[in-house]
C-alpha cells in the first residue's frame, strides 16, 4: 500500500478511496432500486417509503452527500495540483482550502436535508 510522507496528503488519499467505494456501493444499490420501477407502482413505493424516506435512513443520505462533495472537491484538487505548475508548491494551502469548502458545503446541505425530520421529531408531529 502507498504511504506518503506527508500525513495530511495520505489521509486525503485514504478518504478519497473510501468515499469513492462508498458512493459506488450506493450507485449499485440505486440501479437496483430504480429497476423496481419496472415492477410497478406498489413495489417501488413500498421500497422508497419503507427505506429511503425513513428517519433512520436520513443520516446515511447526508453521509452520501458528504462523500460525494468530498470526492468531487478532492478530485478537482488533484486535477489542479497536476495541471497547474504552482500546484505542488501550494499543495498544503490548496488542500486546506478544499477541506474548508467541503465543510462549508456539507453543513447547509445536512441542515436542509435533516430539517423536516428534526422539526417533525421535535414538534412531536407526524
Amino acid at each position: 500500500m502507498l504511504v506518503y510522507r506527508d500525513r495530511g496528503g495520505h489521509r486525503a488519499w485514504v478518504l478519497h478511496r473510501l468515499t469513492g467505494l462508498g458512493v459506488l456501493a450506493f450507485l449499485c444499490l440505486h440501479v437496483l432500486d430504480t429497476a423496481l420501477l419496472l415492477r410497478g407502482e406498489d413495489a417501488y413505493n413500498h421500497l422508497v417509503r419503507g427505506v429511503y424516506q425513513q428517519w433512520w435512513f436520513q443520516p446515511l443520505e447526508v453521509a452520501l452527500g458528504a462523500a460525494l462533495v468530498y470526492h468531487a472537491l478532492n478530485g478537482l484538487r488533484l486535477v489542479l495540483v497536476d495541471a497547474w505548475a504552482g500546484g505542488v508548491r501550494y499543495e498544503r494551502p490548496i488542500r486546506r482550502t478544499m477541506l474548508a469548502l467541503v465543510v462549508l458545503a456539507v453543513a447547509p446541505l445536512a441542515a436542509v436535508m435533516l430539517w423536516p425530520y428534526l422539526s417533525a421529531a421535535l414538534g412531536g408531529g407526524t
Partner: protein, 148 residues
C-alpha cells in the same frame, strides 16, 4: 503504488520525457506506447470532472430543490416523461458506473496480491460493470408510465 499512480507516471514520462533530457543533436527518447492503464487513468480524470456537475447536480436536485419525501413512482414517471431527463440520467449512469468501476479496478490491482485471486477479482469487477450497465440502460429505456 496504485495503478492510477502508475498510469500517471507513464503520462508524465510521455509528456515531459522524464530522465530523457536529450542533449542537442541527440535523438529524443522514444515515448512508450500509451497503455490501457493510461487511457483508464485519463478517463477517470475526464469523467470525474463531468461527474462533478452531473452527480452533484442530481443530488442537489433530489435533496435540495426537491426532497426525498417527494420521491415516489408518480414523481419518477413525471420526470421520465421528459426525454431530456432520461438522457441526463443515462449519461450519469454510464459515466458514474465506468468511473466507479475503473476506480475499483485500481483498488483490486493494488490490494489483491495472490495471482489467482486477483484474476477472479478482476473478472468479477468487469462482470459487475457489464451487469449494472446493461440493467441500468434497460430500465432507462424500458420504463413506460401507465396511461392516466
Amino acid at each position: 503504488m496504485s495503478v492510477g499512480d502508475a498510469a500517471r507516471v507513464t503520462r508524465v514520462t510521455r509528456v515531459a520525457g522524464v530522465g530523457a533530457a536529450p542533449r542537442p543533436g541527440q535523438p529524443a527518447r522514444p515515448r512508450p506506447p500509451a497503455s490501457f492503464e493510461f487511457y483508464s487513468w485519463y478517463f477517470l480524470r475526464l469523467s470525474g470532472v463531468l461527474l462533478v456537475f452531473l452527480a452533484l447536480g442530481h443530488f442537489l436536485l433530489m435533496h435540495v430543490v426537491h426532497s426525498i419525501r417527494d420521491v415516489d413512482y408518480a414523481f419518477a414517471a413525471r420526470r421520465w416523461a421528459t426525454p431530456a431527463w432520461r438522457i441526463y440520467d443515462w449519461l450519469l449512469l454510464v459515466l458514474a458506473l465506468l468511473h466507479g468501476f475503473a476506480g475499483l479496478r485500481g483498488v483490486v490491482d493494488e490490494w489483491v496480491r495472490p495471482r489467482s485471486l486477483r484474476r477472479a477479482a478482476r473478472l468479477a469487477v468487469w462482470g459487475a460493470t457489464a451487469i449494472f450497465l446493461l440493467l441500468g440502460t434497460y430500465v432507462v429505456l424500458a420504463f413506460r408510465a401507465p396511461l392516466g
